[in-house]
């Protein structure tokens, strides 16, 4: 039976202001381990807000996010940071690499922050990741010496550094040319095929169609769920079962 990597129960994110606004409105979602989930929707629909809630970057107003079986609503900020460090990997539209550090040092950053490996092991893993993403030769270069696609691949390597259960990507191809977009999406696909869960927010319907499942968000609610053509049957079953049970 396929495990559930990520689950939300009645997830609500409301922002208070002169006019109160609901960004995410009661979303129940279950993402299986190894699933590639694409979140689409028009601008302002709440897809990025949902992603930040899934990655524990933001805290819900109501509801629960369960990561690998661990409920997170009662966690302290420090505990949430620890979950982000060890169980989630982030990729953003802008690479957000530290500009003074080389590609290798950027990839090393999460591993050094976690401190779970020896320096030698960290270095070997960082180099292996960069090499696997075709950046072995660029390891000593700083972000300003890399192309947009290369930077985003370094950001992907950084997201993968601590072997997280879940990769959360917010428009990772938003600033890339067609070739780089294809390359990055291919890598994300491979990551999911290798058993890690990938949740991607994208505007690109063609790319979203290549995910195992696509959910379309409108006004903070899931408007439509579509399973991709090559979705693994067990994943579809697990996701469906989880949704049904929640």
């Amino acid at each position: 039976m396929t495990e559930v990597a990520l689950q939300t129960v009645g997830l609500v994110r409301r922002v208070q202001g002169v006019i109160s606004h609901t960004l995410v409105d009661g979303i129940d979602l279950s993402v299986a381990k190894g699933e590639f989930l694409a979140i689409t929707g028009p601008s302002g629909s709440g897809k990025s807000s949902l992603l930040y809630l899934l990655g524990l970057l933001d805290a819900p107003t109501e509801g629960e996010v369960i990561i690998c079986g661990q409920a997170t609503s009662k966690l302290s900020e420090i505990e949430r940071a620890d979950v982000r460090l060890t169980k989630c990997g982030f990729v953003f539209q802008f690479h957000f690499l530290l500009p003074e550090f080389t590609a290798l040092e950027n990839v090393l950053l999460p591993m050094r922050a976690a401190g779970l490996m020896s320096a030698k092991d960290m270095h070997e893993r960082a180099m292996a990741l960069l090499t696997s993403l075709g950046l072995g030769e660029q390891a000593a270069k700083r972000p300003n010496q890399l192309s947009g696609g290369q930077r985003q691949r370094v950001a992907l390597a950084r997201a993968l550094a601590n072997r997280p259960e879940i990769i959360v990507a917010d428009e990772p191809t938003g600033n890339l040319d067609t070739a780089s977009t294809e390359q990055v999406f291919g890598i994300l696909r491979d990551i999911a095929d290798n058993g890690q869960t990938v949740v991607v927010v994208t505007h690109d319907a063609a790319l979203a169609a290549r995910a195992d499942r696509r959910i379309h968000i409108v006004d903070g609610k899931i408007h439509e769920t579509t399973f991709g053509g090559h979705a693994k049957p067990e994943i579809a079953a697990a996701s469906g079962a989880a949704i049904a049970s929640s």
Binding site: S48, Y52, G55, L57, D58, E77, I78, A81, D82, V83, R84, L85, T86, C88, F90, F92, Q93, F94, F96, L98, P99, E100, F101, L109, P110, R112, A113, A114, G115, R158, D170, E171
Partner: protein, 414 residues
């Protein structure tokens, strides 16, 4: 969170922002350097003054007085009867059995004691008259309790014994009355006694009031001038450590019953002024170090503003808020540490430069080099205060920057 990761990020930030780092270091260096200079100057002048003061006077003086009027015999005898206007018993002047007292004191004193006779006199020479304090001394014992022998610029202490009624006068008095070694003066005592005396030596203590108002003779001459043969009215004590004078004075007074005054008590007004001055100087130095830390505050504020994306991404990666905050505090302390090293060098050079300057000292009436006190404490204290100021100066902008929610920054950049 691994400290070497934070150090590595902090070092990368400061080493890639050379201009900002240099400005921050310069601010700290200036603050530390000038603080050390001020501390060296102020404490140097103070210590020099105190040294002269302590060298010139005995550390403890035992006079033939009581600290308070003794209870009258009539009061002791007739406690139940109210008696007013009872005349004070006129105690015999002088310290009783001075040799016994001195022998007793020598048994425990961390120093030595010498007898003397203190009286007032008028020095009359060529029509000029100056009131002075005449201290009758024993030249053999005097060398143990004062630095008079080393302050002689003409003649020696032992010359007092070589001439009849020999006296040693201060340089300022000699200049005032146009006196030279070998001149004869007329000494007038309080009882109307007049004695012809010969100047056998001239000293210079460095304190004008002493050089002008103090003269020395043998004990016998002072006793004759007082009209009190055999009297010893003062014991003068010199200690191996002048700083314990107050404690010793209390013990001596408890033992002998005579009023014992330490050099600190005798100059309490002056020391109180020094304490006030110390407070002012400390405040000014603190303000200087605090002001220098404003440069650090500005630089860390700028860096945290420029680095808000990095802060957001570090937090989103899972680095804890206080760890990210520590990066900027470490940066500030790195700048501060190097600034302190330069500040120490600057402070030493400034102190050295000041020590080469000579000025006229109205207190001593001499042109002397500025006295600088070199103390490791100045360096340690200025460094410690400065590094603390740097940490505090960095804490507030770092806290403000790291409190921002990463989503706000990430959304803003998207």
């Amino acid at each position: 969170m691994a400290t070497n990761l934070l150090l590595s990020i902090a070092w990368t930030h400061v080493s890639t922002r050379v201009r900002q780092t240099l400005v921050g270091m310069f601010g700290v260096a200036m603050g530390v350097g000038f603080t050390i200079m001020m501390a060296g100057l102020m404490q140097g002048s103070q210590i020099d003054f105190l040294r002269q003061l302590v060298d010139t006077m005995p550390h403890v003086t035992v006079d033939d007085e009581r600290r308070s009027v003794p209870v009258q015999p009539a009061d002791q005898e007739y406690a139940a009867v109210a008696m007013s206007n009872v005349a004070n018993v006129n105690r015999r002047p002088g310290i009783r059995y001075p040799d016994t007292v001195m022998a007793s004191l020598r048994s425990w004193l961390p120093g030595d004691v010498a007898p003397s006779v203190k009286t007032t006199a008028i020095v009359d020479h060529g029509g000029g008259k100056v009131g002075v304090t005449l201290t009758g001394i024993d030249p053999r014992l005097e060398v143990r309790v004062s630095k008079l022998a080393t302050q002689m610029i003409e003649g020696q202490l032992t010359d007092l014994s070589k001439a009849a009624n020999g006296i040693i006068i201060g340089q300022a008095l000699a200049e005032k009355l146009a006196l030279k070694n070998g001149n004869t003066v007329l000494l007038g005592g309080g009882e109307g006694t007049q004695i012809s005396a010969t100047v056998v030596g001239i000293f210079r203590s460095g304190l004008k009031r002493v050089d002008e108002g103090q003269i020395y003779s043998l004990i016998g001459l002072a006793q004759t001038l007082m009209g009190q043969n055999g009297i010893i009215n003062q014991l003068r004590i010199r200690l191996s450590d002048p700083l314990v004078a107050q404690k010793v004075a209390t013990q001596v007074e408890a033992q002998t019953g005579y009023k014992s005054v330490s050099w600190q008590e005798a100059n309490s007004d002056l020391l109180s002024t020094f304490a006030t001055r110390d407070l002012i100087v400390l405040t000014v130095m603190g303000a200087m170090l605090l002001t220098s830390s404003f440069a650090t505050y500005n630089i860390i504020s700028t860096i945290t503003h420029e680095k808000r994306h990095d802060i957001a991404i570090m937090k989103s990666l899972g680095m804890r808020e206080y760890s990210v905050r520590r990066i900027f505090i470490i940066e500030s302390m790195m700048m501060g540490s190097v600034g302190i090293l330069f500040g120490w060098a600057l402070g030493y050079l400034l102190c050295y430069a000041w020590s080469q300057i000579t000025i006229f000292n109205p207190l001593t009436g001499a042109t002397v080099p500025l006295q600088i006190y070199y103390s490791p404490m100045h360096y340690i204290a200025s460094g410690a205060i400065s590094i603390l100021c740097c940490a505090v100066a960095a804490f507030f902008p770092a806290r403000k920057a790291t409190r921002v929610h990463p989503v706000e920054i990430i959304r803003g950049a998207s």
